[in-house]
């Protein structure tokens, strides 16, 4: 028995193995750093002539996409295949979901078929959380409603760290339809945890109540003036403007949006000299970003896509040991 007045310092414990990846809100900065380190190694694998390692041999990964997304689905498929997992992809269209089967029933069927990891994209926020309560394996959120997109958040962090060698202290501006963006939310968790200074820049109709953002991320700066926000920024991250927002009356016109919020060469000139431009894709060139910026040497948009595969490999690898 320990003597009186002695403090027992517990030995540092390794982080418990993670079962699900639903958002970045429950990641510590240390775990994010670990994922980014593993991502760098996965990127090395993707640069080889044989882009495959046997780490997940014999594991079944099911891509369950209830919302169309060719790019993300292919990225997840390539990631799982590069780790030698068996991969199948299903979409709601043409499946039993159209015949009225519930999400729960679909999950149970996939479980009975031997799925180890379900990668899930859903238009409703919270759908992956619901499955995570019942599924015996791991759930990886590939985007749910306007709530979270953790793999996009991590690939953005990786891309920034790769370019600058750090994230802490960098000035990051997120521009565009922040109100409806799951990418912005996951990026906010990741960037603030890693010590970046984040500015949100959007027209008030595409931002929503300022109090909401400040309640969750008290250190972010909020503005509707892009020229001010971009001054001295290291990272300019623009979001896709969904054109239906104009039909919904949230924008007077796309031309006005373009004039006030598009990333143009003139605006980029106000950013830091080494600044980079990011976009989660798909882009509306000429709306939120001008074509000459999208293909400039400052653009890391294609690198983001490449890094997406490596990040997804890192997460699948982390989950699949269960």
């Amino acid at each position: 028995m320990p003597a009186k007045n002695t403090t027992t310092v517990p030995a540092p414990e390794a982080a418990p193995r993670r079962r699900h990846v639903l958002d970045l809100d429950d990641f510590s900065a240390a775990e994010i750093a670990e994922v980014l380190e593993t991502t760098a190694s996965m990127k090395e694998v993707l640069g080889r002539s044989i882009k495959q390692v046997p780490a997940l041999r014999g594991k079944n990964v099911v891509n369950m996409f209830f919302e169309d997304s060719t790019r993300t689905r292919i990225s997840f498929e390539l990631a799982a295949r590069s780790l030698s997992a068996n991969v199948v992809s299903m979409s709601a269209k043409g499946s039993s979901v159209e015949k009225g089967e519930s999400l729960m029933d679909t999950m149970r069927t996939l479980q009975a078929l031997g799925a180890d990891v379900i990668v899930m994209r859903h238009s409703e926020a919270g759908a992956p959380y619901f499955l995570a309560q019942h599924f015996h394996g791991s759930i990886l959120n590939a985007g749910d409603g306007r709530h979270a997109h953790p793999t996009q958040g991590l690939l953005d962090l990786f891309t920034i760290q790769e370019r600058f060698g750090r994230i802490e202290g960098l000035k990051v501006v997120i521009v565009g339809d922040i109100l409806h963006s799951r990418v912005a939310r996951s990026d906010l968790w990741g960037l603030t945890k890693m010590g970046a200074q984040v500015t949100l820049c959007a027209p008030p109709t595409l931002l929503g109540p300022t109090a909401f953002w400040l309640a969750t991320w008290p250190d972010v700066t909020i503005t509707s003036n892009l020229d001010e926000a971009i001054a001295g920024a290291d990272v300019v991250m623009t979001l896709r403007l969904q054109k239906e927002r104009q039909q919904a009356g949230l924008l007077p016109s796309l031309r006005e949006y373009n004039r006030l919020f598009a990333i143009t060469p003139e605006r980029m000139a106000k950013a830091a000299p080494e600044a980079i431009v990011m976009h989660p894709g798909p882009m509306n060139e000429g709306v939120e970003i001008m074509p000459e910026v999208a293909v400039s040497s400052q653009s890391v948009i294609e690198t983001q896509v490449t890094n997406g595969v490596a990040v997804r490999m890192a997460l699948l690898y982390r989950l699949a040991g269960e």
Binding site: P16, R17, S41, M42, I50, V53, P54, A55, G321
Partner: protein, 177 residues
């Protein structure tokens, strides 16, 4: 815990020099040789062998680093959240003589994983294995070509290698019971 030193700083230095000579002799020089250290302690050992070869052969032998985490067959049995470290081989290993270097040879599973990893990186003309300590208890048909010291152990014992570059203490190999 009972700890017994089996190799001292000088023993390790001599073993490395001898392994270097044996590599040069076996391969009739080292012009075609690439040393690949298995992370973690195989890497500084490979670098030390390369330094020895530069000394007495006058050839700068390239040294690579191999992380075998993604090739292990015991992912589910291992600790939480394994971090994968980098693999970096400075040149195409196809047609070269690759000497894998590790500190301890035990079950052979690490070496098997390393051989798998190498075969994804190229097709060496030959692959050889150099280890500082061979402690027996093989679970696979693998043997080392160059051995610093054979140490018969019981499976209850553990071999602990300390190297300046990684552990920041004097070099030494210990049996821990």
């Amino acid at each position: 815990m009972n700890e017994k030193q089996i190799l001292s700083v000088d023993d390790i230095r001599r073993a490395i020099t001898r392994i270097g000579h044996e590599i040069a002799e076996r391969n009739e020089g080292v012009r075609n040789v690439v040393l690949v250290g298995i992370r973690r302690r195989g890497v500084p050992l490979a670098q030390r062998i390369a330094a020895t070869l530069l000394d007495f052969e006058g050839v700068k032998v390239p040294v690579g680093t191999l992380d075998i985490t993604l090739y292990r067959d015991d992912l589910a049995l291992r600790g939480p959240a394994p971090v994968v470290h980098s693999t970096s081989i400075p040149l195409d290993i196809t047609g070269r003589v690759v000497v894998l270097v590790d500190d301890v040879l035990y079950t052979g599973r690490t070496v098997r994983a390393a051989l798998d990893a190498l075969s994804d990186l190229g097709r060496p003309e030959r692959t050889q294995l150099a280890v500082l300590v061979d402690r027996g208890h093989r679970e696979l048909p693998i043997r080392a070509d160059f051995v610093g010291k054979n140490v018969p152990t019981s499976s209850e014992e553990r071999i602990e290698t300390k190297l300046q570059e990684i552990d920041h203490v004097d070099d030494g190999v210990f049996i821990v019971r």
